[in-house]
Amino acid sequence: MTLFLALVLVVLVAAAAAYLARSRAAGLRASGGGRLNSLPGYHAAFAFLWAAVPALLFLAAWAPIQEQLVNGAVLASAAGRQLPDFDLARANILGEAYQLATGQIAAAISPDAARIAPVYREALGRYGLIGGGFALLLAIAGAAWALTRVRATFRARSGVEKWLMGLLVAASLIAILTTLGIVLSLLFESLRFFSMVPATDFLFGTQWSPQTALRADQAGSSGAFGSIPLFWGTVFIGAIIAMIVAIPLGLMSAIFLTQYAPARLRSVLKPMLEILAGVPTVVYGYFAALTVAPLVRDLGLGIGISSASSESALAAGLVMGIMIIPFVSSMADDSIAAVPQAMRDGSLAMGATRSETIRKVILPAALPGVVGGVLLAVSRAIGETMIVVMAAGLSANLTANPFNSVTTVTTQIVQLLTGDQEFDSPKTLAAFALGLVLFVVTLLLNLIALHVVRRYREAYE
């Protein structure tokens, strides 16, 4: 029995249970058993959930276990013991045997695969029967239990409620666990990297040249993994240049939209501004590399900066700043709008002008929300990849000249992980260490931002 068949059967059993529960409950009502605590529909849902959910959960857990068991059984068989020891070759043959056994291919290229295919098929059938049969039993047991509970007084509604709450908890746990999984996957590779390169060299070194040599006697074979130039480039582009663009423009557009624009203009401008957030970053990347970067280079040459490069921090930062504007402006918009009207009236009634009111009353009151928005925008900007890959360049310069080329953490990660890699070299593993540090930084920024925003929200409620 394949697991897919088991899945279908479980759902069928559950559906049958739901139907039975429904008609039983309806029968109770018709036979004058008094008022039902729960409508027949709830009894049906209760039976369905009891039949389907435990069995489906079991199947989900069983699928990876079964693969292990089948592989183990095949390798333990007489034919399996003759397979090559080399991991890659063995996995290849096993994969082919699987396809042959399940009928996805008609004939195998490797004779080994053809030889073990029957063994494979047999093991697959055996464990499939065990797993699928158990799932089916679970479904039937759940259905039977639920069906015995169909009574007029049974509170199926609250039973369903509990199931639904469980499902909602599971849904939110998945997001959280995924975050945890991401951290762990970064962490383990990073630990391997730090076992090859000292953490202090990585965190405080100012030289970045992640080449590792093919031969041990080659020049520069050790490579240099000082990440300071990368983080400087990231901060320079994402937190300095982009913010110099995004904070004033975003804030001013938020002020205009909330305080000055007539309602009709606002209803047109605000969605248009938010369209900026929907432009794919790769399109911003083109724009930065093909349009803005040459302009910036010409400007740099024009004002006598001979080192102006066509891949510059300024070009990437400017475009990134534009991209970030909607983040800043929509957060600022929300927090300005949350400042009570009474505050504004109070200031206007004192004879303050609108801009005085904004500068001296509204902005100070909205400041925590604005700061939260800016921090979120910074964390978005330093994690941004496409624009900097296309426009910022690759040379790890430690420079404050915005017309020079700098590189960022995300750009280097892309460089390190595209093409062929060896996972035992620090060159590849460095990408994970960079990713980990970047993740920690953006996580901290997000936490601070959320904290700031939340404290602010409490202030006016």
């Binding site: 007539p262 009474a342 109070g346 009634a349 001296k360």
Partner: protein
């Protein structure tokens, strides 16, 4: 006396025959006489308005002489298509407290907001008619609205101190209007304003604390101090006590008495006893019209209009 009184003509037919008024009056007298024994048995016919008026020795003050501080003529206010005020004319006098009373939605707050053009801040609001401050049209292009609001201050229904220190709240107006050339001047203005608002003794040791940390009544007095700090000529108060407890209310009322004479005050209130206690003039609004305007004592003890009588005796509102 008749010169200041605005001619008011009843626009709706009198709803009750005059015998009903006589019966009401008789019941009122009986109610007061039997109050000690009978108050549990039947609803209060009058909410102690006579006592409130009696407690206010200024309620019967003769109407002021000379030109009014502010004069509104035939004011109409529209919110979009809806008309909120239907031709109101009122004078506000220099050394008087003028109370605007009336049921909810009668337009009294809207009218008050016309006097310093706060209706400008409401999209779709339109004001017609002429409002003069010392004879000058406040809606004319020559009038700087910023200057107008410095001269005609406002205190709102809910205390709205800025989220700044107590000192900065009061210093806000003098700073934006450049009234204090030096720090010492500013200190003087802040102290004087807080003293006048009766708040100095309570906050003098914690001027750097946030204004929002004060109690409701203190916050409202802070807002009054803030309004006073720019040395206005008129103070508009829009239900200044509606969010306050009785003790805080009493303090504000006391304060209004003290401020009278220095500023022309116009106060909107839902609380008729309050109007009877603090004002010398009372204007009764109903459905966007000014029904009756006159000496407070007259309005509360001897109204000329049936609708006023019905309102102050609690028949509606």
């Amino acid at each position: 006396m008749t010169k200041e009184m605005q001619p008011v003509t009843p626009t709706t037919p009198v709803p009750f025959p005059s015998t009903a008024i006589a019966a009401d009056a008789a019941q009122d007298d009986a109610g007061i006489a039997k109050e000690d024994t009978a108050w549990t048995q039947r609803p209060e016919p009058t909410p102690h308005l006579d006592e409130a008026v009696d407690s206010n020795p200024t309620a019967g003050e003769p109407l002021g002489q000379g030109a009014p501080k502010m004069r509104a003529q035939d004011i109409k206010v529209f919110y979009g298509e809806k008309q909120a005020i239907r031709g109101v004319s009122i004078d506000v006098h220099e050394d008087k407290v003028t109370a605007f009373i009336g049921p909810s939605g009668c337009g009294k707050s809207t009218f008050l907001r016309c006097l310093n053009r706060m209706n400008d801040t409401i999209p779709g609001a339109r004001v017609t008619g002429r409002i003069e401050l010392d004879g000058q049209d406040i809606n004319s292009p020559d009038m700087d609205v910023v200057q107008l609001r410095a001269r005609v201050g406002m205190v709102f229904q809910k205390p709205n101190p800025f989220p700044k220190s107590i000192f900065e709240n009061v210093a806000y107006g003098p700073r934006i209007h450049g009234l204090a050339p030096s720090k010492a001047d500013l200190d003087t203005i802040v102290e004087k304003s807080l003293r006048r608002a009766g708040l100095w003794d309570e906050v003098k040791d914690r001027l750097t604390e946030s204004g929002t940390a004060l109690s409701g009544g203190q916050q409202q007095r802070l807002c009054i101090a803030r309004a006073i700090a720019v040395d206005p000529e008129v103070i508009l108060m829009d239900e200044p006590c509606s969010a306050l407890d009785p003790i805080a209310t009493a303090k504000i009322e006391e304060l209004i008495h003290e401020l009278r004479g220095r500023y022309a005050i116009a106060i909107v209130t839902h609380n008729m006893q309050q109007a009877a206690r603090v004002s010398q003039r009372t204007a009764f609004f109903h459905l966007g019209e000014l029904v009756e305007y006159g000496k407070t004592a007259d309005i509360f003890t001897n109204p000329r209009e049936q609708r006023t009588q019905d309102y102050i005796t609690g028949r509606y509102g």
